[in-house]
Symmetry: C3
């Protein structure tokens, strides 16, 4: 084969639009025995009408990318382990049906059912008012809805890239632009290597404008069962943890332990300052089940994503039994609060910022324990500082 | 034939999406002579691009279901009698073009041109603010637009079912769901029997969540000419009628009589408590033309749909000459008012509530008179109580 | 050939939907040597998914009509001269992705990248509150977003008409309607003659209702380079010019001269009362480059479009280096202000108003100079009145 196999699935500039596509180990010899494949299809019916899916399976680990929903990842699986969760929203929702400003700015929740979904790019976090400079040069009041636009913006370019070393990648380009407003381009490369347990998400965010732009980016990585269960744990190298609000204070002592499905449970949210590997800015954290024989880890550069949020929503299964582990440029408070706290990224004209997140699945006690040991080494003998109350600049009080 | 013929037209779970379809008396022998048929097609152009239509004709009565618009019924006809009305909105409007929150929450009116359209499921009625418990467990202010979401939500499952007894049914499933919000599923079966004058709408509304949910459901059944005309009448077994507002008070004496098209007419709305058949909760009402030789009746369970609203909008033909006869769980006031009046349904977790509405067309004086006599028997010698002013818990004053 | 060749590309009433189409000089003999053509295609990918384009080329001048975006004109070209501009919005945006009410009513800017786009029909101009009479006959507060709905409403009828005299026309019908609200129909004919340098836009706006309707219409004609450049000029027969605000006052002396791309430039807007040809209501104006060898002119009936606005946005190229020359029924202030100033058109029931705008491209000093001389004749020895401050009924102060 050529050193790199590349096929364009969607391209706004040339009008390419492949409704379906597949390539696999039988068609393309990568010198491996794994039965890998890439399949694209289009969904029909209800709110998912017209949503594209690109599924990648590396022989052991698979995931389904949604180009129509900003290159989110709907779900994943590793051998017989499901990665993702069950939302009351059953189908992937086409952005045409999502009114972000609905219900006081909570419209984003109408389409929320992904395993991994980006929140951003101009804003993420709680809905709230903001002040921007408008086309007249005046301050104008705008309302920023929950978690921003990127997850409800379809990709204008999608391609499959397969390298001789066994790397299978889906690339995508998503424009979050408007005249006189943010003009941010996400260029993502979501890849895995044949036979491995990892998905690697490499995102480049470019300010297309000459003028400065703000950027907020959060990776909302969501898990239900079987990883999430009574006694499941978050294992992370913690320097500091801060409860978001009074409800989080109630669960503070057990912030890293999870309950089983609990009808009427109200979400508990914790903000973390994580430690990174000595002499490096890499950090690592793990969500594992009670027995410690399945889990999923996130590995990333804490300099790029300094804020980590744990969202515990161990409600009844039918209501969405789920936890979100969320590395980000900021905490998911309203943008004004985050700006005042100095946690909103500014991009110069034409600047590109790169973010890299590696998500892995773990099966077997040995594999899980190995990750835990690595996290323990990052933690070292540092004592986590557990802040008893919200505030301290982490959350509004 | 098999005891039940069944074909799936749309299914989100399996990806079935039949753009066109037909079956008729020549293909399927029901042992009747009527030239019945079912035809599905997809609309194109303007705001109707991508809207699906499933037309059912039972040999004498026909109707056109819109799966894309929440299984509304666009129009009907019985022999040479048109059922429905002429709206300034000419084409069925795809939900992607409807911003419910537009114009102070009146965006629903951009797509309003159906014969029968459901208003609900989480809310219906006038737009207004509401307070809900949000994901943080806090009270949050939301704005609920006119008549809710269900009419602008496409069906995720649509099938045709034909029974050996001559029953032709279209079934549909429509999800009005969001994370942390209502998760209500409408499962509808819209059926008719070959050679009859009736459409039967059987709706099951399920709370998909474990937590409680509220439900509001109103069947907005709309008629213009030829049934609606100068001298047309509403015939109903009335226990009590209440004018909605001062404009309705002006027309109160003639609440059950209609004017011809009147330029500048301002809508008059009346709220009714109807009587039901002795020893039963079934009620029946009729809209008939002046001469009493054409009409359309509604028959339903008053326990399930205790509130009946008459919407008189006898404006100029071009502006929408129409009346709505509207059985519902509530009156179409803003939800907060209805909740305070105890007229919002609560569903327990996983609960399903069933609603049944039979709409019939009547031609010929004998047929119309027969319905009137049945209504007269329900009325008995009970005197309708005509409340002179709005209020009394029926409408805000 | 027949005296008039006519092909329907889209028709909501008959369900016609031609995804692609072409006709050219080889297929149809117009007795001319020019290699003219008409081509229709559908765009795919990202926010442009499903947007139709109809390109017309008359042998020397071409333009691309967007039926899906209200019959806007995406771009034009004349020989090697580009007509239009580069927006931070790269692709034509499907209306399903545009929430006009987003960001304080500035959602229109998410789709703004056309050469010529209509703003209207019920409202245009700055976002702002308005009071309308609602279905209950009461005054209701509504919010009118920037520039109205027409540019984000797909055409329900599109046809190609070619006459033996070499006229190539695209016709379109776009309905901006809702129950109880405006019901305005745009019927447009966008035409050119083979071998000429002109596009002729003939718009008829019909009030479909019996009741009165308001109308606002503005032609937002936008140019970047090469016509717009440092030293480019607006040449127009000016009776009066009024700066919109303090920022415009700063540039007032050079209101008719343009800067090169200037990072951080804040838009300057001027409102004009133009002169018309003696004994006629025709007016003419020109945008030309510094050297005066390329330009584009607008010719129209000042009685129909009495207000002319110049929008200078000579920002950095990446941020949208552009000027808008904008003939209109009104100035693009919020509708309430324009109504108070008597500049909102009222249509009687069923009334149709016609608007005609001819846009020409000019190449070569002789051609440009000839237009300038014609404008000079309209100006005569009338002195432009330059109002030093905003106000005087032209703009809010």
């Amino acid at each position: 084969m050529r050193s790199r196999y590349r096929t364009v699935l969607t391209d706004a500039e040339t009008g390419i639009d492949r409704k379906s596509f597949s390539v696999d180990h039988e068609e393309l010899d990568l010198g491996v025995s794994d039965a890998w494949r890439v399949v694209k299809y289009r969904l029909h019916g209800g709110l998912q009408e017209g949503v594209d899916v690109v599924e990648v399976f590396n022989g052991v680990l698979g995931f389904a990318v949604l180009p129509t929903r900003g290159m989110s990842i709907l779900r994943g699986w590793y051998r017989d382990l499901d990665l993702g969760w069950d939302s009351p929203v059953k189908d992937p929702v086409h952005p045409a049906y999502v009114d972000l400003n609905d219900r006081g700015g909570l419209g984003w929740l109408k389409g929320f059912n992904e395993w991994i979904v980006r929140c951003g790019l101009d804003n993420n976090g709680a809905p709230g008012p903001d002040v921007v400079i408008d086309n007249n040069g005046n301050e104008a009041s705008v309302f920023l809805p929950l978690h921003g636009k990127i997850a409800n913006t379809p990709a204008r370019h999608v391609a499959v890239e397969i390298d001789q070393d066994g790397t299978i990648a889906i690339t995508g380009q998503v424009d979050e632009t408007m005249m006189f407003g943010p003009a941010l381009r996400l260029t993502t490369r979501i890849s895995t290597r044949v036979g491995t347990n990892e998905v690697r998400i490499e995102d480049r965010i470019t300010n297309l404008n000459r003028k400065r732009a703000e950027l907020q980016l959060l990776y909302h990585c969501n898990y239900g069962g079987p990883i999430l269960e009574e006694g499941a744990r978050l294992v992370a190298p913690v320097k500091r943890v801060v409860p978001r609000d009074a409800t989080a204070v109630e669960g503070l002592e057990k912030h890293d332990r999870f309950s089983g499905p609990t009808s009427g449970f109200v979400e508990q949210v914790y903000f973390y300052d994580l430690a990174s590997r000595r002499g490096s800015s890499e950090t690592l954290l793990l969500l594992r089940n009670q027995a410690g024989n399945v889990g999923s880890s996130l590995r990333y550069d804490k300099d790029a994503l300094p804020c980590f949020t744990l969202w515990k929503n161990t409600a009844a299964r039918e209501d969405g039994y789920v936890t979100g582990i969320e590395p980000a440029t900021n905490f998911p408070n309203a943008k004004q609060f985050e700006r005042d706290a100095g946690r909103v990224v500014t991009l110069r004209g034409k600047e590109t910022r790169t973010f890299l997140l590696t998500v892995a699945a773990h099966q077997g006690r040995a594999d899980v324990r190995s990750v835990e040991q690595e996290i323990a080494r990052i933690q070292g003998n540092r004592k986590p500082r557990i802040q008893a109350r919200p505030g301290g600049g982490y959350a509004p009080v």
